[in-house]
C-alpha cells in the first residue's frame, strides 16, 4: 500500500512538473473549463438573483386576494361589491384588525407606465402601484430611505431604491407618468426585493390618472397569524359571488419566481452542458496529448515495475488539477463579473423588474462541480490509455 502511494506520488509529480512541455494545450484546457464554469455560474446567478428578489418580496403573514379566477395580479379584478362584503364581514376571517375593528388591508392596482431613463434616455416600462395608506406598512421590511411616503389623494409617488438609483429619481423631482405629472416625495428600501422595482402612489390618484376608476386588482390583508390563510380562504369561499383566490404573498411571489427562474435555468443548463461536452472533448485531447508526451516516462517506470494504477492516477490527477485551475478561474471570473450585477426582466405585470445577480455558495458549488466533472470524464479515458501503453515503448523510443 505504501509502495503504491509512493509510486503514485512519483507519477503525479512527473505529470505536474512536466506541464511546461505542453503549456499551451494545458492552458487551453483550463480556460475552456473556466468558460463553461463562468457561463453556468452566470445563468445560475441570474436565476438565483431573480428568486431572491421575488422570494424576499413575499411575506407569509400577508395575504393577497385576487379575483376573476386568476392567481396573478395582472388579470385580476375584484368587484366593489365583493370588497364591501369582505370589509363588512364581522368576526374572525383570518385577517388582522386594527383597534377600531377594521381589517388591516390595502386595495391595490398595478398600472404599467413608461419612464424615461435620464434625460434623452430610453423609456422603460415600470410598474406603478396604486395602494391605500396602509399599503407600505402591511408589507414587511419596507423602510424609507429618503423623504416620506405619498399623501392620500395627491399625485405623489415613492420609488424603490433600485429604481431611484437607476432612473435618478430624487425627492422633489417631477416625473410624467401617463398624461400627468407626479411628484417624487421619497424612496424606500425593500432589502433588494422585487418591490424596489415599483413606483407606489395613492390608489385613487392612480385610478383617476389612468381612467381606472373603481378598479381593484388585489386586496392585501395582514393575516392574524401564520396559520390564518386557510381560515381566510374558507371565509372567502362562503361569501363571494365571484371566484376569489387568496394566496400568501410569499406563495404568490414564489410561484412567479419559480416559473421565471426555471425558464432561466432551462436556457442556462443546456448551453452550459453543450459547452461542457466541448470542453470535455478538449480535455480528452489535452490529456491524450499528455499521455503521448510522457509515453517513454510512463513506459520506463512500468518497465521498472511500477503498477498500471500509478500511471492511471497520475494522468487522472493531472486532468483534475487542470480542471480545478479552470474551476477556480471560472468561479473567480463569475464572481467578479456577475455578483451584484444589476439585471432586469419583464415581471408579472408586464413591467420591468430589476434584480441583482447573486453568485451564492450553491451557484459556486454547482458550477464548480460541473467543471470538475469535465476533468474527471475528460481525464478518465486518457488515464486508461496510460495504463495500456506498451512497455516496449520504453525500449525503443528516444527519451
Amino acid at each position: 500500500m505504501l509502495s503504491q502511494l509512493q509510486q503514485t506520488r512519483v507519477m503525479i509529480r512527473a505529470n505536474l512538473f512536466s506541464l511546461h512541455r505542453r503549456l499551451a494545450i494545458s492552458i487551453s484546457m483550463a480556460l475552456s473549463v473556466a468558460i463553461v464554469v463562468c457561463v453556468l455560474a452566470g445563468f445560475l446567478a441570474m436565476a438565483k438573483g431573480f428568486e431572491t428578489a421575488l422570494a424576499s418580496a413575499g411575506s407569509s403573514l400577508v395575504a393577497v386576494v385576487l379575483g376573476g379566477g386568476t392567481n396573478q395580479e395582472a388579470g385580476s379584478d375584484i368587484p366593489a361589491s365583493v370588497l364591501r362584503t369582505i370589509e363588512a364581514t364581522a368576526g374572525d376571517i383570518g385577517a388582522a384588525r386594527d383597534p377600531a375593528g377594521n381589517l388591516v388591508s390595502s386595495r391595490e392596482i398595478v398600472v404599467p407606465v413608461d419612464v424615461q431613463q435620464g434625460p434623452g434616455g430610453l423609456a422603460r416600462t415600470l410598474a406603478l402601484r396604486g395602494m391605500e395608506a396602509a399599503g407600505p406598512s402591511i408589507r414587511e421590511g419596507i423602510t424609507l430611505s429618503q423623504g416620506r411616503f405619498f399623501t392620500p389623494g395627491s399625485r405623489e409617488i415613492v420609488g424603490g431604491d433600485r429604481l431611484a438609483g437607476e432612473f435618478g429619481l430624487s425627492a422633489g423631482d417631477t416625473v410624467r407618468l401617463g398624461a400627468v405629472d407626479w411628484m417624487v416625495v421619497g424612496h424606500f428600501s425593500a432589502h433588494g426585493s422585487a418591490f424596489e422595482s415599483e413606483l407606489w402612489g395613492d390608489l385613487d390618484a392612480v385610478r383617476a390618472a389612468f381612467n381606472r376608476q373603481g378598479q381593484v386588482q388585489s386586496l392585501r390583508l395582514r393575516l392574524s397569524g401564520p396559520d390564518s390563510l386557510k381560515r381566510l380562504q374558507d371565509s372567502l369561499s362562503t361569501m363571494a359571488e365571484t371566484p376569489l383566490t387568496a394566496l400568501s404573498e410569499a406563495g404568490l411571489y414564489a410561484a412567479q419566481s419559480g416559473r421565471t427562474a426555471s425558464l432561466i435555468r432551462s436556457f442556462g443548463w443546456p448551453i452550459a452542458l453543450l459547452m461542457a461536452i466541448g470542453a470535455t472533448a478538449g480535455a480528452l485531447n489535452t490529456m491524450m496529448s499528455s499521455v503521448s508526451d510522457r509515453t517513454v516516462e510512463i513506459a520506463t517506470v512500468r518497465a521498472l515495475g511500477f503498477s498500471p494504477l500509478s500511471a492511471f492516477i497520475g494522468t487522472w490527477v493531472e486532468a483534475m488539477m487542470l480542471a480545478a485551475i479552470g474551476v477556480i478561474l471560472g468561479l473567480a471570473a463569475s464572481w467578479i463579473v456577475f455578483n451584484g450585477w444589476q439585471a432586469s426582466t419583464i415581471g408579472a405585470n408586464n413591467a420591468r423588474m430589476a434584480f441583482q445577480l447573486t453568485v451564492s455558495g450553491d451557484v459556486l458549488a454547482t458550477s464548480g462541480l460541473l467543471g470538475l466533472a469535465i476533468g474527471i470524464l475528460g481525464g478518465a479515458l486518457p488515464a486508461i490509455a496510460a495504463t495500456r501503453l506498451p512497455i516496449t515503448a520504453a525500449l525503443r523510443a528516444r527519451g
Binding site: L2, S3, Q6, Q7, V10, R13, A14, F17, S18, V296, E297, T300, V301, R302, A303, L304, G305, F306, S307, I391, T392, A394, L395, R396, A397, R398, G399
Partner: protein, 235 residues
C-alpha cells in the same frame, strides 16, 4: 541435489516461439529458440535489424511473453506468470539499462535512482543510503541533486546503470547501452558493466550493434532470422 541446482543455467529458454501479428498476418520471430546462460555470464547479443534481438530482450525482461516454450530465469518461470507477477518480478530480480537512458527529467539523479526502491518496503533513510552507495559506485558521488538535463550522455547512462543495480538484482539487461554515446564514454560504460559482472557477479545480457562493445562480453551470440547462428567466446 545441491550440485545439480548449481549446475543449472541461470537463464534457460527452451523451444521458444513468438510471432507478431502484422497487418493481419502472423509473422514468426522465433520458432523453437533455445538458450542457456549460466549465472555470472556476460552475453552480448548481436544481429541485424529484425533478427529478434529486441523481442528476446523484451521476453527476458518479462515485458513480453513467448507464444510457446518455457522461459525460466533463476527459479521464476516467466512464461507462466501473469502481467502483475512479471511486473513484480522485474522490480525485484532484474535491472534494465536503456539506450537513451530513460531518466525522468523532472527528477534529480538521486530521485531517478531511487525509483525502483519505491517498490520495496524500505525507509527513506535506507533508500537514501542505497542511492548514495550506487551513485558512488558509478562515479557520480556528489552529483545526487543534479538533474539529467545538465549531465552528459555518459553521466546520464551511469545514472541509468545506478538505477538498474540499486535493488541489487541478479540480472542486468542492457539495450544498446552505448548506442547514444561517443567512443570514450561508451568504453567507460562498458568497463563499468565488466566491473559489475566480474566484481559483483551480475549476469548481464547486452543487445548491441557495436562489435567493439561486444568484445567486452564473455561471449557473443549472433541472431539472424530468429535463430542463433554463431557464438564467439572471449579469448
Amino acid at each position: 541435489m545441491t550440485q545439480h541446482i548449481a549446475q543449472e543455467p541461470y537463464i534457460a529458454l527452451k523451444g521458444i516461439s513468438k510471432a507478431y501479428n502484422i497487418g493481419g498476418q502472423a509473422v514468426p520471430i522465433f520458432s523453437g529458440l533455445d538458450l542457456c546462460i549460466p549465472h555470472g555470464d556476460f552475453v552480448a547479443v548481436m544481429g541485424p535489424s529484425g533478427s529478434g534481438k529486441s523481442t528476446l530482450l523484451n521476453m527476458l525482461a518479462g515485458i513480453d511473453r513467448p507464444d510457446a516454450g518455457s522461459l525460466r530465469i533463476g527459479a521464476s518461470h516467466l512464461d507462466q506468470m501473469g502481467e502483475a507477477a512479471r511486473s513484480s518480478w522485474r522490480a525485484h530480480h532484474m535491472g534494465i539499462v536503456f539506450q537513451f537512458y530513460n531518466l525522468l527529467p523532472i527528477l534529480t539523479a538521486a530521485e531517478n535512482v531511487e525509483l525502483p526502491l519505491l517498490l520495496k518496503p524500505l525507509s527513506r533513510r535506507e533508500r537514501r543510503i542505497r542511492v548514495e552507495r550506487v551513485l558512488d559506485l558509478v562515479g557520480l558521488g556528489g552529483r545526487e541533486r543534479q538533474y539529467p538535463g545538465v549531465m552528459s550522455g555518459g553521466q546520464q547512462q551511469r545514472v541509468g546503470i545506478a538505477r538498474a543495480i540499486v535493488c541489487d538484482p541478479g540480472l542486468l539487461l542492457c539495450d544498446e547501452p552505448t548506442g547514444d554515446l561517443d567512443r570514450k564514454s561508451a568504453d567507460e560504460i562498458l568497463e563499468m558493466l565488466c566491473f559489475l559482472n566480474r566484481q559483483l557477479g551480475k549476469t548481464i545480457v547486452m543487445v548491441t550493434h557495436d562489435p567493439q562493445a561486444a568484445l567486452h562480453a564473455k561471449r557473443t551470440l549472433h541472431l539472424d532470422k530468429g535463430d542463433f547462428v554463431e557464438e564467439r567466446r572471449a579469448a
